[in-house]
């Protein structure tokens, strides 16, 4: 065995190492929630409502129960009593309760009306077809109008200056409404859970982004102490926000397990993931922008109307970036929420920013064109180093640098100034740009680090309830521990996703990488300090951990540490920034649009691992591309269901749609953000992407596409914007 270096070699943080869990994943040995072998496991299949509004008048389970292997059919008539919400509309959060099957009332098409439990999954699926439900059907309300809602408490109205005065003093005005449709998270791993009770203790194998918050939501739903709930979630096949909260099917699995006294596995089908695992809400965003002739913003108004369910409330903050991205004295951000009979909305990747940046960045492009200014220069002119929404300085903000460097690398100077002026054969060619911003939060995050010495060799185990939802948490925590303990990455074992481990904030809101790594760093530093103390006078500067443990006569040692935001953090606005540049080709006859290339420049602090970071941003770009050109659920107005019923109808990009994708990270050292200097990138990658594509479509075709997605059907029926010169 070779002796480990006594001083840390070259830092592994910042190196593009392979995922430490990559081999487990590609060999199928990484276990996901539904795959755990549990003695006596039985299977549950959910049954969905086939009306969007009304009441169940009769539910006949006899035929289902008569089938071989069927153990129990649970409906609102025999369900366990669960906690009830304290408002007509349950306000959704990462810890919210999720009562289910508590009444005959139907709020949306596809709502759970029963669950069938059987010895095999096939028996459960077949019996589920045999549950007969009769309804008293009421006329569903699935369309929503701008004026029919209410102001949600969760997103209070924000205003600074005087927007009417600001609009009045403007030389040019843009006043337009953008629409974005219902979208779905659809992570690759289906929502799945195995629930098992032992007396009053509940153990769940659960695909969960936030183990600790989910334990609370589940405990509160069943009205038991949180300590009674254990969640095990080592691997999660994506979430995009849909696994932030423990949703109704988790409660159904736990309820069924309790009622029959056996462990129950519940997997939500791909089709049910359109209706039962939350979605991105439909939004109408009314933008009003005023600017002086020389390009300075005088007013920016962002009014959002969104749908919510009739029984659950969520509002994505579409106006988040409009408050802080540009220097403008007069600003208003407001929300109007309309309850209708559609499934409940919830946070989906960059909630608010993904959709809000589409409206903001398109409106900025519309204004730049009206002013006759280059859209890159227009943005730079209105850049600011002080957050105008709270007058705090940004901890670091390299937006102008992202735009300038991006423009140079992309070849922005070649952009045709006049829309619809560049042709390549049958293709109209256009370039588009957008700015991107995403808050870079830090949350209290703890970890336990245990080191083991065997002669000269030290290995370490890191434990935290943090999750790896495909983002690379295992890898970046191994890199962090390796550097702060001075041992190789291969000597570090990372264990995640168990609610018995020290508490992290979980994966969400782009705070994971920063919070987890700072927590692990703190635990490692604490451990090193304590070992140095134990080594006493023998400890010398620069001594490695093996020698220190040797001097302290230790073969094993553990420490728990945590990190939290500092005062300096709180006195700053902390964000990641970026710029997207893209080239889109639109066929002049068929109106099919193709993304040819896209370049993103991001400034997101320390890049822990360029490989996993690239992968994150690439995923965001693809998701933004899908949002711009194809993703939508279409609502049947008479019946209230989605007529896009599967991934054959609900289109996401395929490999052949993908373009030349370049991701550039600017070096940024921001120790105000946190000691590791890490800022989130999981959501930055999608921000502004749809806007840049829509802007490129305008540059190519002269058409302003204010209703996503931009399909051939919409492009062929949209008129060329007045003022655009048309040659063909």
């Amino acid at each position: 065995m070779t002796k480990q270096a006594t001083t840390p070699a070259e830092a592994v943080i910042g190196q593009a190492i392979d995922r430490v869990d990559g081999r487990l994943k590609v060999t199928g040995r990484a276990k996901y929630a539904s795959e755990f072998p549990v003695e006596g496991l039985v299977y549950a299949q959910g049954v969905n409502s086939t009306i969007a509004k009304g009441d169940i008048t009769r539910i006949d389970t006899a035929a289902a129960e008569a089938q071989p292997g069927v153990i129990r059919v649970i409906t609102h008539e025999n369900a366990l009593k669960l906690a009830s919400p304290d408002a007509d509309r349950l306000e959704l959060s990462t810890t919210s309760i999720a009562p289910v099957l508590q009444s005959p009332e139907i709020n949306w098409y596809g709502e759970w009306v029963a669950v069938v439990v059987a010895e095999t999954i096939e028996q459960a699926q077949y019996a589920a077809r045999l549950v007969e439900v009769e309804y008293n059907r009421a006329e569903p309300k699935v369309d929503f109008a701008q004026d029919a809602g209410y102001a949600p408490d969760v997103q209070p109205k924000y205003e600074r200056g005087d927007v009417d005065a600001g609009m009045a003093e403007a030389d040019e005005r843009v006043e337009v409404t953008y629409r974005t449709p219902v979208e779905h998270h659809h992570p690759m791993e289906l929502h799945a859970v195995i629930a098992e009770w032992e007396d009053e203790n509940l153990e769940l194998h659960l695909c969960s982004q936030m183990v600790n918050d989910n334990a609370k939501g589940i405990a509160d739903t069943f009205m038991i102490p949180k300590e009674n709930v254990r969640i095990i979630a080592p691997f999660i096949g994506g979430g995009f926000g849909s696994k932030l909260q423990a949703q109704e099917h988790v409660m159904l699995a736990a309820m069924a397990a309790k009622m029959i006294g056996r462990p129950v596995q519940f997997t939500v089908t791909r089709q049910q993931m359109f209706t039962n695992t939350s979605l991105r809400q439909e939004n109408l965003q009314r933008m009003r922008i005023g600017a002086t002739r020389d390009g300075r913003l005088t007013a920016l108004v962002h009014d959002t109307t969104s749908h919510t369910a009739t029984n659950k409330e969520y509002q994505e903050p579409c106006g988040a970036a409009s408050k802080m991205l540009y220097k403008v004295a007069n600003n208003r951000v407001n929300y109007n929420l309309v309850p209708i009979n559609l499934p409940y909305p919830w946070a989906m990747r960059a909630p608010g920013e993904a959709t809000g940046s589409y409206a903001l960045e398109c409106a900025m492009d519309e204004m730049a064109w009206k002013l006759g200014m280059d859209p890159v220069e227009f943005r730079i002119l209105n850049d600011t180093q002080v957050d105008p929404s709270n007058d705090k300085p940004f901890s670091s903000r390299l937006l102008t640098e992202c735009l300038r460097i991006g423009a140079k690398k992309f070849g922005w100077a070649d952009r045709p100034l006049e829309p619809r002026s560049r042709r390549e054969g049958n293709w109209l060619v256009g370039y588009g740009v957008s700015a991107a911003s995403r808050q870079a939060p830090l949350q209290l995050s703890a970890a336990r680090v245990t080191v083991y010495r065997d002669g000269d060799t030290v290995t370490a185990t890191v434990q935290t309830d943090a999750t790896d939802i495909g983002t690379g948490t295992y890898t970046i925590l191994a890199q962090t521990a390796a550097d702060f303990l001075g041992i190789p990455v291969a000597a570090v074992t990372v264990q995640l996703g168990d609610s018995r481990f020290p508490i992290s904030p979980g994966s969400g809101g782009s705070w994971g990488a920063a919070s987890f790594t700072n927590g692990v760093r703190a635990a490692c530093m604490k451990l090193m300090e304590e070992i140095k103390v134990a080594a006493g006078t023998d400890a010398t500067e620069g001594q490695g951990i093996a020698d220190l443990m040797d001097d302290a006569d230790l073969s094993e040692y553990a420490a728990v540490g945590s990190a939290a935001p500092t005062e300096e953090f709180k006195n700053h606005s902390v964000y990641s920034f970026g710029a997207n540049f893209c080239e889109v080709w639109v066929d002049v006859d068929t109106n099919m649009a193709r993304l040819k290339r896209i370049l993103t420049v991001g400034a997101a602090g320390t890049i822990l691992n360029p490989k996993t970071a690239y992968s994150q941003v690439l995923g965001g770009l693809v998701m933004g591309h899908g949002m711009a050109f194809m993703e939508q659920s279409k609502v049947e107005k008479q019946y209230g269901n989605f007529i896009t019923r599967s991934l054959a109808d609900y289109h996401v990009p395929v490999n052949l749609d993908l373009a030349d994708v370049q991701v550039v990270f600017l070096p940024e050292d921001d120790k105000i953000a946190n000691p590791m200097g890490v800022k989130g990138i999981g959501e930055l990658g999608i921000c502004g992407v749809a806007g840049s594509l829509a802007n490129a479509v305008f540059n190519a075709t002269g058409k302003r596409m204010r209703d996503l997605p931009i399909t051939p059907e919409k492009l062929i029926t949209t008129k060329i914007e007045p003022g655009v010169t048309v040659s063909r």
Binding site: D589, T590, R645, L656, P709
Partner: protein, 330 residues
């Protein structure tokens, strides 16, 4: 999925006799459509007769110079067969634009012809659909019909046929060989196989119960030099056509000797543009003539509330497909 009786078959004779001897039979080819429909509870066969393994996987030259495509051969092997690529590149191009490689590897030629519409009202058993459940009404007629027919629809059904391959077959010309339950066989001109919905939308084709497609005989090749399949869709793969055009031109001495032209995504059957084909014969292969042919093709279009866009899209697509066909040298 509901329980069903599964019958493997060794010969065509076995398969067709099994279909008469058992209740509610369906033939199972590659399973890329039937199995989906069974999972969705749309198709509820009591008997599933496996036919994909039957010995009809040939590609053979016919006496008239055409090709016989075995009904059980998969779409990938058909599209990539050297003789198909050489003589019928329009068919190759069309078939390779369909679905995905994985689906094409499974799907049989016979099954491709018999795939059912992707109309969401047909798929969703809680909504009305005359094709799925005669007499319940057509949900799409006054509902979500952006993806529906502009030609040949009836009050009873506005669904479209989803196949790409069939659009090329309509342009090229073909004859379908069908095995009958009594052990005999019959031949059906391809354009007669599929029917318009009328008041019996539950019948996609003129096939009688128990009849099995065993082969597709292509007309002698004419469009090996000038061909194009234009498929307008929302993404580059794994998407049905909003609208498509298969175009083949035979050009002799600067004149169009023969034109093969058909559209997909516009009707209950692959929509052969016979009047436009006739118009083009003897004309010069020029954009002006293509535009006139397209106008003829589109003149009977009757859009629904949400699919008027297909009129302009169809007009442009026909012109464009003809231009590209002419410009394309095999």
């Amino acid at each position: 999925m509901r329980p069903f009786n599964f019958i493997p078959s060794a010969t065509v004779a076995d398969a067709v006799s099994a279909s008469t001897a058992n209740p509610e039979p369906r033939y199972l080819g590659g399973g890329t459509n039937l199995i989906d429909l069974m999972k969705e509870d749309v198709e509820r066969p009591d008997t599933v007769i496996e036919v994909a393994s039957l010995d009809r996987k040939e590609i053979q030259r016919t006496p008239s110079g055409g090709l016989l495509l075995g009904g059980m051969l998969n779409n990938t092997d058909t599209a990539n067969h050297p003789d198909v690529r050489k003589d019928y590149p329009l068919l190759t191009m069309t078939m390779l634009s369909a679905a995905t490689e994985q689906i094409r590897n499974m799907a049989t030629n016979g099954g491709n012809l018999l795939q059912r519409t992707r109309c969401p009202y047909f798929y969703e058993t809680s909504m009305p659909c005359n094709k799925r459940e005669p007499g319940t009404g057509c949900g799409a007629l006054n509902g979500m019909n952006a993806l529906h027919a502009i030609f040949g629809w009836s009050e009873a059904c506005v669904a479209v046929h989803p196949s790409d391959m069939c659009v090329a077959l309509a342009a090229i010309g073909a004859t379908v060989e069908v095995a009958k339950p009594d052990g005999t066989s019959r031949r059906i001109p391809f354009t007669d196989l599929h029917r318009l919905p009328g008041d019996e939308p539950q019948r996609d084709t003129i096939l009688e119960p128990g009849e099995l497609i065993v082969g597709i005989e292509l007309d002698a090749p004419k469009y090996a030099d000038h061909y194009y399949y234009l498929k307008i869709r929302e993404r580059s793969s794994y998407a049905f056509a909003l609208l498509s055009v298969a175009a083949g031109l035979q050009v002799e001495n600067g004149r169009i000797a023969s034109a093969g032209l058909a559209m997909g995504g516009v009707a209950h059957k692959p929509w052969k543009l016979t009047a436009a084909e006739d118009y083009l014969r003897g004309k010069a292969p020029e954009t002006g003539n293509f535009e006139a042919a397209a106008a003829i093709a589109m003149q009977d279009a009757r859009p629904l509330a949400e699919n008027e866009y297909k009129i302009e899209m169809g007009q442009r697509a026909i012109v464009r497909a003809l231009e590209q066909a002419y410009a394309r040298k095999a």
